[in-house]
């Protein structure tokens, strides 16, 4: 699969809150090759500190040449990205990793928690393109507070999926966790679940899916230096007793392969 290192130009900055930001970059090669569930490595500056690139899911491609990332400020790198302004340039490397394997013939349930919402938009869009009708398909978005979910509802609404929301503090949608929303919905048989979010949430989802014999794909994280298989730093222990490398073998895995950090 092709990978590109591009000088990307910021074409749009959307601040959903002080912490939650969406950036739109012009990087044609990456946009054209990107698949739902893949990620990019972004260099936060041009200097030597912070040294390493930071991994971010591809939130969506909004044209043949634009990609979006939706991120939260958690440290130095994301702080720097949060200060980016329109027309500034930055080095982006990707698309990387193996994305979601879309089951076209079965109903889909997309579950995104917190920043795990990020890759779900691209996935929903692609599914809606592959299927003529998504009325049987469900999207569940969860977050701690309103600002983590509400700003994205409109984008998710456009594909004809049923969309449900939940927040930990009840400030938007159902008061509680996405898992509760998931359990409360009567989903069709042979539903395929696509999930991304905090480890405890993905762990819980994988248990629920196992019970109902739903195949469940999860997008997981790990610390990364290179994002492309060179450093072997992104390993995660798997059920078979070996290590998987998130950047190469993932970031999307079958939930059954995973050992959760909880």
């Amino acid at each position: 699969m092709p990978q590109y290192q591009e000088k990307a130009t910021v074409v749009r900055v959307e601040r959903f809150s002080a912490e939650n930001i969406r950036l739109t970059f012009d990087c044609p090669d990456i946009a054209l090759a990107a698949q739902p569930g893949q990620f990019v490595m972004i260099r936060t500056g041009t200097g030597k500190d912070p040294l390493l690139r930071r991994p971010f899911s591809i939130h969506q491609t909004t044209s043949d040449s634009l990609i979006q990332v939706y991120f939260k400020v958690v440290g130095r790198g994301t702080e720097i990205l949060a200060q980016l302004k329109k027309d500034q340039q930055i080095s982006i490397f990707g698309p990387l990793g193996n994305g979601f394997r879309i089951a076209e013939t079965t109903p889909a349930c997309l579950v995104g928690g917190g920043l795990g919402i990020a890759p779900m938009l691209f996935l929903a869009k692609r599914i809606s393109q592959l299927k003529k009708d998504c009325a049987n398909d469900l999207i569940i978005l969860g977050g701690r507070v309103r600002t983590e979910v509400e700003p994205l509802m409109a984008d998710f609404a456009q594909f004809g999926f049923r969309v449900a929301a939940a927040t930990d503090d009840g400030s938007f949608g159902r008061h509680g966790f996405v898992t509760e929303v998931f359990s409360s919905h009567d989903l069709p048989e042979r539903c395929t679940v696509y999930c991304c979010g905090p480890e405890p949430m993905m762990a819980a989802m994988s248990v629920l899916c196992r019970k109902r014999h739903f195949p469940c794909q999860v997008s997981v994280e790990s610390v990364m230096a290179c994002g492309m298989g060179a450093c072997l730093g992104c390993s995660r222990p798997t059920r078979d007793g070996s290590y998987a490398h998130v950047c190469l073998d993932g970031p999307v895995f079958d939930a059954e392969e995973m050992i959760w950090n909880i």
Binding site: P2, Q3, Q5, R43, K48, D49, P50, L51, L52, R53, S91, F93, S222, V223, M224, A225, C226, M228, G229, A230, C231, L232, G233, C234, S235, R236, P237, S242, Y243
Partner: protein, 313 residues
């Protein structure tokens, strides 16, 4: 070593490591370039002076528990745990591709005992596509209570001899910087027959997560690399280049051609690009380009002119 004038390329970037002549002084540092194929989409592998692959052990190694890496100020710590496919699968699965690249392939080897180093060397001798062997002596010698081979002149010399006896290709010994006097180790391996020394391997470091009150690495300690260690690496290369007569290969925080040229001024015949490959997958190729431009701009007959050319009044 004779460089034939009539067939000299322009610019002349050739350097020699023992009997091996490289088209240019730029190699990729072991463990930072995978098995090279990972980079084929991102750069022109054929422009490299040599490719050094991830360290190979006798049998496959799973590596350490995660987290294996953490970023530090202008650097990073890694505790990969020498994960690799083992010498047999390496030859079967990787050498085919590497052998066709027409770039000298240098295999970095590691072992926990002299015997392991011997056996790996023998197995590698089978494959004639290998241009040289680089010995990682920063590993613990389990038969000697886990003291790293690289911290003791006698052990370092023993490993060098063990490999050298069985190798048909030049042997490079990669030195550990975690020693009181690196020139002592360098001289010991030179006397033991090393065709060249490369330095530095990572400095041993540690990082702590204050919130969790835990080490950032599952392995607690790890190897520090990147721009942060460049001053220590430059100093050691400068010292070793004065202490031995075999070629010295400079490693440590090299990100640009300027960095590489500084190492050569300090006495390095060649250099390795490591951590920089993670930040910029094209880094090693850009270092080649930059050195080439420098040699042309300075109108040097060859890049070899600047090896050890540092002026210290």
């Amino acid at each position: 070593m004779e460089y034939l004038k009539d067939q000299a390329p322009i610019p002349d970037l050739r350097v020699s490591i023992g009997s091996l002549t490289l088209a240019n002084p730029v190699m990729t540092a072991s463990g930072t370039f995978g098995y090279a194929r990972e980079f084929e989409e991102l750069m022109d592998l054929r422009r490299l002076g040599a490719i050094i692959v991830k360290g190979i052990s006798l049998s496959p190694r799973a590596g350490n528990q995660p987290p294996r890496i953490v970023e530090t100020a202008c650097g990073m710590l890694n505790a990969i745990g020498l994960q690799n496919v083992g010498v047999e699968r390496f030859i079967e699965e990787k050498m085919g591709y590497l052998g066709n690249l027409k770039v000298p392939i240098i295999v970095n080897i590691l072992g926990e005992s002299l015997d392991e180093y011997r056996q790996i060397t023998e197995k590698l001798s089978a494959s004639e596509a290998i241009a040289a062997i680089e010995i990682n002596i920063s590993c613990p010698n389990v038969t000697k209570g886990g003291v790293a081979f690289g911290t003791d002149p006698a052990m370092a010399a023993a490993v060098t001899r063990a490999v050298k006896e069985r190798s048909g290709v030049p042997v490079i010994v990669k030195l550990s910087p975690n020693v009181t006097d690196i020139t002592v180790i360098a001289r010991a391996v030179e006397d033991a027959g090393a065709d060249a020394v490369s330095l530095i391997n990572t400095l041993i470091g540690m990082a702590i997560n204050l919130k969790k009150r835990r080490p950032q690495l599952a392995n607690i300690i790890g190897g520090l690399s990147g721009p942060a260690i460049k001053p220590v690496a430059l100093r050691m290369v400068y010292q070793v280049a004065r202490a031995v007569s075999v070629p010295v290969i400079g490693i440590g925080g090299i990100t640009t051609a300027e960095d590489a040229l500084e190492f050569m001024l300090a006495g390095a015949t060649a250099v390795q690009v490591g951590t920089a490959n993670f930040v910029n997958p094209r880094a090693s190729e850009e270092v080649v380009t930059g050195i080439s431009e420098y040699v042309l701009a300075e109108k040097l007959p060859s890049v070899r002119e600047i090896i050890g050319a540092l002026e210290v009044c």
